[in-house]
């Protein structure tokens, strides 16, 4: 990878040689570890995704089947499981879809007209455009009540609904805590606790809490006449319960980061604005938010990356049910692995990787970069 200079001028001690090589030695462990435990698995599971796994006597057999696993997910017997059951799209929904896609096209067009067009940039934006348009159509087709979402849309629901709700609540709490209040440190410490609890534990705890007949809130449910209601049997309620558990765990992370960002922001500007009679909302919109935006963008990106991997909560809270209503893609892949459909499992995993990369890289490049103070 580097140019090798072999012309030794004088005899060097071992220490000097070590020092000469230090730039390589410093980074080599990381690169090697990632090569062995990330690039090799990536290549091997790419092969798994393209083959069929069969147990035979004394081991297993892999048969190369090309894109058949993906075809099964997108158009075949697993379509209902992955994409969902497509319902009818009404006229006004088509209108909304057209508006979204038009907005995406306009954004693309403006980039192409601008001065800094590059091949990589155009390619990346085209992928973003195509993927987001397809996902918009799919979202309307499976989520409007006439169809049933598959694991793809359910995962995206957890990711987008989850991350936005968590961000809003965390920001609100951080702003409240950053005020001139007593017990600031107490609140900060308490609000951080949920992230320390293991997700498996959180899932079981929420199963206890959300029990309609024996849980702590059951008198409340009975009062509202909901004692007989079972959220676990209702598809959208079950999804929201999973989302509540996930939010309980991850709001602390966003809260900590945002709180630290707000605290480290300089107070002079805020005080000057207050003297000029600016309202709380104006101060937040024009001073506080721009100041914390870069940190917020990075925190949201980390959260986005982790949100795509959700498995423990739906697995334990609802076991993916009712039906497949709460099954995330990681859980889908895990279930396929359990039934020894290794090819199908790897294909779901790869689709998840693709979607996660498109969403995260789009966010990083098109939103994350904008918040940087120096500009692109």
């Amino acid at each position: 990878m580097q140019t090798h200079k072999m012309n030794v001028k004088r005899k060097r001690s071992f220490g000097e040689m070590l020092d000469q090589a230090s730039p390589k030695l410093l980074i080599l462990p990381t690169v090697l570890i990632i090569l062995f435990l990330a690039i090799y698995p990536l290549l091997l599971s790419a092969y798994l995704a393209l083959s069929r796994f069969k147990l035979v006597r004394g081991g297993f057999e892999l048969k190369f089947v090309g894109f058949r696993n993906f075809k099964k997910l997108l158009f075949g017997s697993q379509e209902y499981h992955f994409l969902g059951t497509v319902g009818e799209i009404l006229l006004w929904e088509w209108l909304l879809i057209v508006i979204v896609i038009a907005a995406l096209c306009r954004w693309m067009f403006r980039y192409l007209r601008s001065a800094k067009v590059t091949v990589v940039g155009t390619l990346g934006r085209s992928v973003t455009l195509v993927v987001f348009s397809a996902l918009t159509v799919l979202a309307f087709a499976v989520l409007n009540g006439t169809g049933y979402p598959g694991s793809l849309m359910i995962t995206l629901f957890y990711v987008f609904a989850g991350v936005s709700i968590q961000f809003v609540i965390a920001l609100g709490l951080a702003l409240l805590c950053a005020q001139n209040i007593r017990g600031k440190n107490f609140f900060r410490m308490v609000f951080f606790i949920p992230i320390m609890v293991t997700p498996v534990g959180i899932a079981y705890a929420f199963r206890m809490l959300m029990d309609m007949s024996q849980g702590p809130f059951s008198p409340l449910w009975t009062l509202f006449g909901l004692g007989e209601f079972s959220w676990a049997a209702d598809a959208s309620m079950a999804r929201w319960v999973v989302l509540i558990g996930d939010s309980w765990q991850w709001i602390p992370f966003l809260f900590m980061v945002l709180f630290a960002a707000i605290e480290s922001q300089s107070k002079d500007q805020v005080e000057a604005a207050q003297l000029d009679g600016a309202g709380a909302w104006r101060i937040f919109k024009d001073i506080t938010f721009p100041a914390i935006a870069p940190v917020a963008a990075t925190a949201v990106l980390i959260r986005l990356i982790e949100a795509f991997k959700i498995i423990d909560l739906p697995n334990i809270l609802t076991n993916g049910g009712p039906g497949i209503a709460t099954e995330s893609m990681t859980l889908h892949s895990f279930i396929a692995w359990r039934t020894q459909d290794l090819g199908g499992s790897a294909a779901v995993g790869y689709s998840l990787l693709f979607i996660a990369v498109v969403v995260c890289v789009s966010f990083f490049n098109f939103i994350g970069q904008k918040t940087q103070p120096k500009g692109a």
Binding site: D19, L26, T30, I33, I34, M208, E263, I302, L353, A356
Partner: protein
């Protein structure tokens, strides 16, 4: 013109001066904060009291306060710590060993790379990288499909790559920069564990290392390494470069600069990064599920195992979950002291 007397409503919403809050805002703020404190603490409280309940007290439903509502019993604690005894202690020790060693390794190795990426310029050649990926693909193909021995294919691949680099690297012109390397490292974190876990499982199976501490430590270190590099780079970037230059003029080696100047100065960053990675590896479930069965079983697996054929054993689970939080709280107490105010914000600046 006389000043109009303010109504009570107005008074409530107007602060007396800039430093203090209006009475109504104050009440509102505190009630929201207390409400959230309740939301955070109640599930934990419920776990705690459930651990003292008899099965009948759980299924008869809801009892809230020990000694008033119900008579607490230590049966679950006795079962977990006396009847199971060593079967509880083993996963507990496993978790402590695996989480702490993988965290220390990830933070140290990640810091090395983060320091290197902030202060040294790298120029990996695009051609060499493409060559590497092609050769690696070949190795995987030969091992998996042609079923050659992995020791053989790996050494052939290595030899091919070294000779390839020596022979051709001077012809490659296009090269990448530090930011590309950084993005490559971060992008590894996007990969869902479910994609990588099968090949890692097969690899450790071939090496005969399944269900050992080593396998879990290495895997956790690898998945958390990108976070360490990402967070630490920012802390290092804020340390003035002049410090390093003067030390180098005095004859200090790079390693020495890294160990004696950068690591101590970035202590708050190190603490925050260690905390986050420790939590992530302490609570990890999916990878442990694949890579360990008995000897190296970790605590999250043991919690999940309480969902027996007789249905979830809530009381045992609650004991385990409560017990699992304790070491993290202690670690957080120690580490938290090292994080001074406002340091974490810098940790995540992109």
């Amino acid at each position: 013109m006389s000043v109009k007397p303010k109504s009570l409503w107005q008074k409530m919403w107007e602060p007396k001066d800039l430093q203090s809050m209006a009475p109504a805002t104050k009440v509102l703020s505190y009630s929201i904060l207390l409400f959230w404190t309740f939301i955070v603490l109640f599930p934990l409280y419920w776990l705690f009291v459930t651990s003292f309940k008899l099965p009948i007290q759980v299924s008869d439903g809801p009892y809230y306060i020990p000694f008033i509502d119900f008579e607490p019993s230590l049966h679950a604690w006795e079962y977990i710590f006396i009847d199971l005894g060593r079967d509880t202690l083993r996963p507990y020790m496993n978790s402590i060993i695996i989480a702490s060693s993988s965290t220390v390794l990830a933070v140290f190795i990640g810091s090395m790379a983060a320091y290197a990426l902030t202060r040294i310029e790298y120029k990996p050649k695009v051609g060499s990288i493409v060559g590497f990926i092609v050769i690696l693909g070949l190795v995987v193909y030969l091992t998996v499909v042609v079923k050659m021995q992995w020791q053989l294919t790996l050494s052939i691949g290595f030899a091919l790559f070294v000779s390839f680099v020596f022979a051709f690297s001077r012809y490659f012109k296009r090269s990448l920069g530090n930011n590309d390397i950084l993005f490559w490292i971060i992008s590894q974190r996007i990969m869902p564990p479910v994609v990588s876990v099968l090949p890692i499982y097969i690899m450790f199976q071939q090496l005969g290392l399944l269900d050992t501490h080593f396998a879990l430590i290495v895997t956790y270190m690898a998945v958390n390494l990108p976070i360490a590099v990402w967070l630490m780079r920012d802390f290092f970037a804020r340390i003035p470069v002049e410090l390093e230059e003067s030390a180098m003029l005095d004859g200090a080696s790079r390693m020495r600069v890294f160990l004696t100047i950068y690591m101590p100065l970035a202590k708050p960053g190190l603490a925050a990064t260690t905390m986050l990675i420790l939590i992530l590896s302490w609570n990890e479930y999916l990878l442990a599920l694949f890579l360990s069965t008995a000897d190296a079983q970790t605590m999250p697996l043991m919690v999940a195992a309480q969902n027996a054929t007789r249905g979830p054993q809530w009381w045992y689970m609650s004991v385990l979950i409560v017990v699992m939080i304790v070491p993290v709280l202690i670690a957080a107490g120690f580490i938290g002291k090292m994080i001074s105010k406002g340091q974490l914000s810098g940790a995540v600046k992109g």
